[in-house]
């Protein structure tokens, strides 16, 4: 009777477990075995024959300059997202936190870019930035700023920043919602009490809002880093990694190793190294947040 009931209970989790083992655990295991092999993805795979030990990792860590360039470029986008995007999100959240007219209207609009697909966002902006037919150049010309006119996404000097700006455009609404939710958990009485004690707005912000928001700041920055470092569909639809390698990021490099040069093993070693870096970053941040909460 009990055995039958246990089997019955297992049936509830069985579909989830099958899908999970097949599409998560097996690929997870496969990444590690493939990363030790050299394989083009077409020929029959034979572990002992294709085994190259750590050669992929050696090449990736010490010889692949473009890989590290792509990492630095993703870091640059992340830096802009952490500062510019999150500052904007916080400013908007502070503005909407009071009983402002049309508060809900703004909220709905600000969260519109995050729900759009990266392909759509990338293709619209690609056209706006276009050197020949783009709206941006048209406006610059009409404003008498023709010296600024350029092919924004084909110019190595501007391409990466243009992509980063669009990434922020798409992402700030998300930060805004989280910051706003955080702000609304702060009891209003604290503000009232501070006002009675004669504190000005800046003091209230600095002495009450900021300390209480530290956990939210840390949460948003962890998620911003993890999300932005892994950005790539936006890049595929805006620049495809070009000009040259100037807008390549780690995930587009992984895709290039796999689809472009048919080096499945190498692509897997890139995935592992990148995943480990991301884990390390979030680990450090979680540690930091625990430390700051104790202090």
């Amino acid at each position: 009777m009990k055995a039958k009931s246990t089997i019955e209970n297992y049936l509830f989790v069985l579909p989830a477990l099958i899908i999970f083992s097949l599409f998560y655990i097996y690929p997870f295991y496969k990444v590690f075995t493939l990363s030790l092999c050299q394989w083009d993805g077409i020929a029959p795979f034979n572990f002992t024959k294709n085994f190259v030990a750590l050669r992929n990792f050696k090449e990736l860590l010490f010889e692949d300059k473009i890989w590290w360039q792509s990492m630095a470029q993703a870091g640059y986008i992340t830096l802009i997202a952490l500062t510019f995007q999150n500052a904007l999100a916080l400013a908007l959240a502070l503005a909407c936190d009071r009983d402002i007219k049309f508060g809900n209207f703004y909220r709905v609009i600000f969260y519109l870019p995050p729900i759009l697909s990266e392909v759509v966002v990338g293709l619209v902006w690609r056209w706006i930035y276009d050197g020949n037919y783009g709206l941006l150049n048209y406006w610059l010309q009409n404003l008498g700023l023709s010296h600024l006119v350029r092919d924004w996404l084909s110019d190595p000097q501007t391409a990466l920043t243009c992509v980063a700006v669009i990434h922020c455009w798409k992402g700030f609404g998300w930060g805004f919602i989280i910051f706003l939710a955080g702000l609304q958990t702060i009891p209003r009485e604290l503000y009232e009490a501070a006002k009675v004690d004669g504190a000005n707005s800046w003091q209230i912000f600095y002495k009450i809002t900021v300390p209480l928001m530290v956990p939210v700041f840390i949460l948003v920055s962890i998620l911003t880093i993890l999300g932005t470092m892994q950005v790539f569909v936006l890049i595929l639809s805006m620049t495809g990694g070009g000009p040259g390698y100037h807008t390549e990021v780690p995930v587009t490099r992984i895709l290039a190793s796999m689809v472009g040069s048919s080096r499945f093993g190498y692509a897997c070693s890139q995935g592992i190294v990148f995943g480990a870096i991301l884990m390390a970053v979030s680990f450090v941040q979680i540690r930091l947040s625990k430390y700051m909460r104790q202090a």
């Binding site: 899908i19 402002i100 729900i115 619209v124 919602i177 993890l226 499945f264």
Partner: protein, 282 residues
């Protein structure tokens, strides 16, 4: 009195500044979308000269051409199929599993649950490489079912987590009453647990719908025949082959975007709740 008026003027001034700031940002959010819709109503001849947001003589033909000749009707149909089946699969499979993790006893229960949790925490960038290898092995490349199963897996862990926290809060009295009335476990899941978890299920439905509708990379790797491709993939293909046919491309993009925006406007309260829940988990 003097003080009061001064204070009032200061406040109005401050509020106006805040509104100007908010309006500028809101316009920046909306502008690319309006530009996209406006351009989809221009012709190939006027699109590079007419820089107005709303064209004087809107041409609706682009939508017809994009739907038929551009293939977006087919892509749209595919996207609907994938979104509906994936979301349906996720809701059923994850609620069954979450119900078991919350309410039923079996060996390895916690271990399995933590496995799903760990999957949410461990980043696996480039997981599309081994997934593609797996698909080839299972002969699921370029099949609808292969893509659907992959996408079900993507949304599974988070949904199980969210639903389990919901089921944990379910009063045991309800469950006992149902059992006394002769409900089987499956009956309790269907009649008691699922209706109670309705808010969580709507969050799951909305987020996974957005996610599947907007998904690009797996659709790119898995599908090679156009007749199976969803909208995002179709857009990139169209852009690649008809590089400057902007009005048609913009019409295709409008077709892609309108359902998402409608769902969003109808469901925005759930969505905003869901983001906060999602962030706390992540």
């Amino acid at each position: 009195m003097q003080e009061g008026t001064k204070y009032k003027i200061e406040r109005i001034f401050k509020n106006t500044l805040i509104h100007i700031f908010l309006i500028i940002v809101a316009v920046t959010c909306l502008f690319p979308l309006l530009w996209m819709i406006g351009s989809s109503l221009k012709t190939q001849q006027t699109v590079f000269s007419d820089m107005s947001l709303i064209p004087k003589n809107p041409v609706w033909n682009n939508f017809y051409d994009a739907w038929t000749k551009g293939g977006f009707g087919l892509y749209f149909f595919n996207s609907v199929i994938y979104t509906v089946s994936v979301v349906f699969g996720i809701v059923i499979i994850s609620s069954l599993a979450a119900f078991a993790f919350s309410r039923l006893q079996f060996p390895g229960r916690n271990l399995f649950f933590y496995m799903f949790l760990a999957a949410m925490m461990i980043p696996l960038p480039g997981s599309f490489v081994p997934l593609y290898v797996l698909m080839t092995k299972l002969h699921l490349v370029n099949t609808r079912i292969g893509y659907i199963l992959c996408m079900i897996n993507v949304g599974l862990s988070f949904s199980i987590y969210l639903l389990k926290t919901f089921f944990d809060k379910m009063p045991p009295a309800l469950e006992d009453a149902a059992r006394i009335d002769g409900c089987s476990k499956l009956g309790i899941w269907w009649n008691v647990a699922l209706p109670l978890a309705r808010p969580a299920i709507s969050v799951i439905i909305i987020f996974n719908s957005l996610n599947v509708w907007n998904e690009y990379i797996l659709a790119t790797l898995i599908f090679s025949s156009k007749s199976l491709m969803p909208l995002q993939r179709g857009l990139m293909i169209f852009q690649g082959t008809h590089i400057t046919e902007y009005p048609l491309l913009m019409a295709g993009m409008t077709i892609t975007t309108i359902p998402i925006v409608l769902v969003y406007l109808l469901m925005q309260k759930h969505i905003i709740k869901g983001i906060t829940a999602g962030a706390v988990v992540g």
